[in-house]
Subunit: 327 residues, 2 copies
C-alpha cells in the first residue's frame, strides 16, 4: 500500500468547508412527524459541513468555515461552538434579515426519520463571495465538499470557485458524494458534481455513492474508474461494518466498527470523514487515520446531537482503548 502523502499538509493552511449551518431540534418521542405538540430538545449546532469542520477543529487540525447564520441565538449556538472547537469563523456571514436555518427531526417507529427543514430560505442559502470569504479561501490548504450542498445554487457556485482556486495554488480536495439518489438534480448540478469528482484527491462515499460518483454500476469497476479519473484515495464508510480505504495501487485496508450504543446516528459519517482527513493532513498513515475515523464516527453516535460527540484526538485515543471493536 502506497503511503505517499496525497493531501496538502495541515501546515499549508486550514481545511475549509462551505455550506449550511443549521440548528437541529429533535423530538424526544418516537412517532410520525410534528402534527401535535410534543417534547423536543435543542437547539443543537448542526449542518453537515459544520459538523465536519467542527470535528476537524476538535481533532487539532487547522479548520475554517464559510457559511451564513441569522443574527439570532441559533446562529450564536453555532458560531460559539465552532469558535470554541478551534474553527476560524471569519468566513461566517451574519445575515441581518434571514434567520439561522433549522432542521426538526423526529424518529418513526420503523427507524426512519421525518424532517422539517428551513435551509433554502434561511441565512444558510444567502451567502455571497465577499472579502472575508476570499481571505479564507486564499489561506486554505484543503477544501472538503458535501455533495448535498451542491443543490443550493449560490453555495454551489461558491464551492466550485473556491475548489478551483485552492487546487490551483497546490491545495487538495475531498468530496463526500452524498447526493440523494431519490432526488433528481438539475443538469447544472450534475455537471458540477462530475467536475468536482475529477478534482477530488480523496473521496468519502458510503453505500452506492461510489457508483454514483463514478457514473457506472459495480463497486469494483466504479473504484477503478474513479482512480482512472484522478482520485487518489477512497475512504469507504460502511457504518456498522466499519470502513475500508482503497488506494490507487489496488490495495485496501479495512477497520472494523467500534461497539457502541447508538443514541443519535446524525453526524457519524461527517465525524468519520473529518477525523480521517485531518489525521491524514497531519501526516498519519492510512491505518492510523482510519482508526481515528472509525473512532470519531462511533463516539459521535453515543451522544444526542449532531456534533455533541465529536472528540478531540486525546478523547479518541481514550475511546479506542476503552471500546471493543465489532468482531
Amino acid at each position: 500500500m502506497s503511503e505517499t502523502p496525497i493531501l496538502a499538509p495541515d501546515a499549508n493552511g486550514p481545511t475549509i468547508c462551505i455550506g449550511e449551518i443549521l440548528v437541529e431540534i429533535m423530538a424526544t418521542t418516537i412517532g410520525n412527524g410534528f402534527l401535535e405538540a410534543q417534547p423536543l430538545t435543542g437547539p443543537f449546532p448542526s449542518g453537515a459541513p459544520a459538523i465536519f469542520i467542527d470535528q476537524c477543529g476538535r481533532f487539532g487540525g487547522q479548520a475554517a468555515m464559510v457559511g451564513g447564520v441569522g443574527d439570532d441565538d441559533f446562529g450564536r449556538v453555532n458560531t460559539d461552538r465552532l469558535r470554541a472547537d478551534g474553527v476560524d469563523i471569519t468566513g461566517i456571514h451574519i445575515d441581518p434579515v434571514y434567520p439561522t436555518g433549522s432542521a426538526f427531526v423526529r424518529y418513526r417507529a420503523d427507524g426512519n426519520r421525518d424532517f422539517i427543514y428551513n435551509a433554502g430560505t434561511s441565512a444558510a442559502a444567502r451567502i455571497e463571495w465577499n472579502d472575508a470569504v476570499e481571505a479564507v479561501v486564499e489561506r486554505a490548504g484543503h477544501i472538503h465538499i458535501m455533495g448535498l450542498a451542491l443543490s443550493m445554487p449560490k453555495v454551489s457556485e461558491m464551492i466550485e470557485r473556491a475548489a478551483l482556486r485552492i487546487k490551483e495554488k497546490g491545495g487538495t480536495l475531498s468530496l463526500d458524494p452524498n447526493l440523494r439518489k431519490e432526488i433528481r438534480y438539475s443538469d447544472e448540478t450534475e455537471a458540477r458534481f462530475a467536475r468536482l469528482v475529477e478534482l477530488s484527491d480523496l473521496l468519502l462515499p458510503s453505500g452506492d455513492e461510489v457508483e454514483r460518483a463514478a457514473g457506472i454500476t459495480g463497486h469494483e469497476a466504479a473504484i477503478a474508474r474513479l482512480f482512472a479519473r484522478g482520485v487518489k484515495e477512497i475512504a469507504f464508510k460502511e457504518g456498522a461494518r466499519g470502513a475500508t480505504v482503497f488506494t490507487r495501487d489496488g490495495a485496501s485496508v479495512h477497520h472494523p466498527a467500534f461497539q457502541v450504543t447508538e443514541v443519535d446516528p446524525t453526524g457519524a459519517g461527517d465525524c468519520f470523514g473529518a477525523a480521517y482527513l485531518t489525521a491524514r493532513r497531519l501526516g498519519l498513515g492510512i491505518e492510523a487515520a482510519l482508526a481515528y475515523g472509525c473512532a470519531a464516527g462511533a463516539r459521535n453516535v453515543t451522544r444526542l446531537g449532531p456534533m455533541e460527540g465529536a472528540g478531540t484526538r486525546a478523547e479518541l485515543d481514550r475511546f479506542m482503548i476503552e471500546t471493543p471493536k465489532v468482531a
Copy 2:
C-alpha cells in the same frame, strides 16, 4: 348605555382575519435565550390573527382566515386546528417554497420573554391577493385587524384593501391597535394605521394603546377623540383588572377578571377580543359579551399554548359558573 347594534350581524358573513400563522415552540425551563440545548415543547398553532380567528370559530361565530403556511407539518398543525374549530381555511395559501413561520419563546426569571421569530421570511409574509382571498373577502361580514400585522408590507396592503371593500358593502371593522411602542414604524405604516382607526367600529386596545390610536395623551381625552373620529365602541383590556367597555354616549361598563392560575399568558388578549366581538356579532349585549370576553381571556391562560385554552360558548358558560371573579 346605548345597545344599538354597532357591528354587522354574524348572519351577514364571517369575521375574517388577515395575517400571520405561526407555530410556537416553547422552552420548558426558565432562562436566557436559546444558547444551548434545552427541553422544549411544541409545535403549538399560533400567530395573533390565527389565535383570534380560532376563538371566533370555537365560540360559534362564522370565521375565515387569510394567511400563508408552508407545505409542512407546521402548516398542517395550524390548518387542522382552524378547520376543526370551524374556521373557513380556503383563504390560507400553502407556499410551495417557504416554510411555515415560527416563534421560539423562552421565559426569563424576571417574567420577560426571549423570542426567535421567523415570520418576515416565512410563508406568513408571502401571501398575495388571489381568487381565494377575493372570495373570502366578498363573503365577509366583518374584518378584525391586528395592528402588528401592518408592519408586513404585503400583508398590510391586503388588509387595507379588504377593509375598504368590506366597509363599502356594509360590513364592519375591529382593530387591535397593538403596534409596539418601542418600534419606530415607517410613515406608510403609521398613515395606514391612522386610516384604519378612522374606519374602526370597535377598538380593542390595552395599556396606552388608546392614546396611541388617538394620537394624543390622556386616557379620557383619547377616548373622546376616538369617538369623535367615528369609533363606535371601545373594549379596553386591563389584564388582571378585567376589562371596560366605553360607548359613544359616555357610558362605560366594567367586568372584573376571573381568578385563574396563569400557565401561559400568550393569546389572552386575542381570545378576549374574539369572544367579545363574536358575542356582539351574534346579537348579545355589551355586558354579556364582556363577560364572555373576560372568561375567554382567563380560560386561555390556564393552558400551555397560545390557543389551547380557547373555549366554546358552552365551555365558557361552565367556566363562568365555576370560576370566582377577582374581588
